[in-house]
Subunit: 296 residues, 2 copies
Amino acid sequence: MKIIRTVKSAKKLTSHLRLKNKIIGFVPTMGYLHEGHLSLIKIAKKKSDIIFVSIFVNPLQFGPNEDFEKYPRDFKRDEKLCKKAGVDYIFYPKRKEVFPPGFAANVNVVKITEILEGAHRSGHFKGVTTVVLKLFNIIQPHIAVFGQKDAQQAAVITKMVNDLNINTKIIIAPTKREADGLAMSSRNVYLNNEQRKDASYLYKALEYCKESLTPPLSKGKGDYIDLERIKRQMYKIIDSRPSVTKIDYISFNEYETLMPVNSIKETGKNSKILVSLAVRFGKVRLIDNITVLIKK
Amino acid sequence: MKIIRTVKSAKKLTSHLRLKNKIIGFVPTMGYLHEGHLSLIKIAKKKSDIIFVSIFVNPLQFGPNEDFEKYPRDFKRDEKLCKKAGVDYIFYPKRKEVFPPGFAANVNVVKITEILEGAHRSGHFKGVTTVVLKLFNIIQPHIAVFGQKDAQQAAVITKMVNDLNINTKIIIAPTKREADGLAMSSRNVYLNNEQRKDASYLYKALEYCKESLTPPLSKGKGDYIDLERIKRQMYKIIDSRPSVTKIDYISFNEYETLMPVNSIKETGKNSKILVSLAVRFGKVRLIDNITVLIKK
C-alpha cells in the first residue's frame, strides 16, 4: 500500500492505470475509519482491480459553527485499517494541495440540496460536491462507493454525476450498525455514556416506522396509513431520552428525488421511501435513515 | 467524418479512444463556423490524433434578453466546413440530450466572472463553465482549444480546469480578424453595412492603445504612462462612429487573474495586460481585446 500526498503524483498514477485498463475503485472518506468505511472498501474491491481511499477532512463542507477543527483524526490508525482491508493507495493530501490560495470554483446541485441536511447545514452540499468532483478528476475512478447512512449525500452525488456526465459509477452501500442499532459514524466518539445509550433510540424509532409501513398492506389499506401519526410516535420515542437536546427533523421523502412524501396515497406502486432524521445530543449531531419499499 | 447525436454514444467512443491511447483534441463551438473556429481546429489537429468539434448553442449562457433564439445556425454549412478541415467527429446533441428535464447541477467560478462580461451578462459564465465541464466529461479530451477573442471565457475556463483538477489541457488560440481588423464572430452577420464599417474601429482603438504602450518604454518611463488618457482616447475613436449605440466597457486587466490594472506602475516586470472592450451597435453587441506585454 502506498500513500500519495500530491495531486500531481495521484493524477500521473491514475492516468497510467486507466491506460492499462485497470478498473479503479474509490472510497472517499474524511478518515477516522470504522466498520462502515471498511464495508465500502470491501464492496469496491469486489468490482475493481485497484482500490483508492482518500482521507481528507474537507473544510468546505463544514459550517462556521460546526466541528471542522475537532473532527476526529488519526492517520496512523487509518493507515493500518486500510492496509489490512487491502487498499492499494491512500490519497492523503494537505489542505492547500486541494484548496490552494485563490481557489474559486464550485460545483452545486440545486433543489435536492435545499431540504433536510441542506436546510440545517448551509453550504454543506456545495462543499461536498465541489470536493467530490475534484477527487473524481484526480483519482479518475470507474466506480466510487458511498454509504447509505449519508442518504442525501448519496442522492446529491448521484444527481451530480448524472447531470454533469461524470464517468464514474456511484454505488451506495448499506449502513453498518452497532449491536444496538446505532449507525456507525466517526462522530459517535463525541458521545458520552448516557448519550451513547440514548443514541440507539434513533434506530428504534426508524424500526418502529418500518414495522408500521411493512407489507403486506392489504388492498387499499396502504392509502390510509397516517404518516403524521407515525412521525409523532417517532418523535415521542426519541424525545423520551433524557440526553436528546433537539430533533432537527424526521422526514419522509422519495428515495431518489428526495421530494417530500406527505401521504402513502401519493406514492406510486412499489415506491421506495427514505425515512430520515437528524438529532442533537448537546453539541453532537447524529443522522440516520432507513428506506422502506411501499408495496401496494 | 461522423456525426454523434447522443451523450451515450459519444462517451462509448471517447472511452474507447482513451483506452487506445489516442490523443483527443476538442474544439467546443456554438456553430455557424468561421475562419476563427477553423484556426482552432487547425491548432487542435497539430496536437492530437482525433479531432472532435461540438456544435451546441448553449441556452444556459444567454440572458433572458439576449439572442439565443436568433443566434445564427446552419448545420449543413458547419458540417461541410468541418469535413474540409479534417474533423473526425462532430458532437451535435439536441438540447434535451444535454439538459434533460430536471437538470439541476451547475459549475461556477467566483470573482473572475463578476467583472467585464460577467458584470454585463448575469449568469453567462456559469452557463459556460457548466456546459464546458459537461462537454469535457463527454468528449474526454486531452486538449481543448478556445479563442483569445473571448479572453475572459478563456481565463475562466483555465481557472475552472486548474481549480477542479480537470484532465484537459487548455490552449488559447489567437484571434482571427477580417482584412480591416474586425475580430471574426458568428454575431458579425447581424451587422448592417454602416455598423459593419464602424465595427472596424474597435480594433483601431485597440491598435491605438497597443502603440501607446509599445516598448521600448525607456527606463522608468512606463510608470508614467497615463492609462486613463489612453482609455479616453479609445472611447473617442469608437464614439466617433455614428452607428455605435453604447460602449459597455473599455478595460485594462492583468491577463490571467483579470485583476483591474489602474496604472502601469502597479504591474510587475514583463507583465501581460489584457485590453478588452464591449460595444453595442443597436441590438448587436461585439467584444474584442488585445494583450500587451509591458516591458520595463
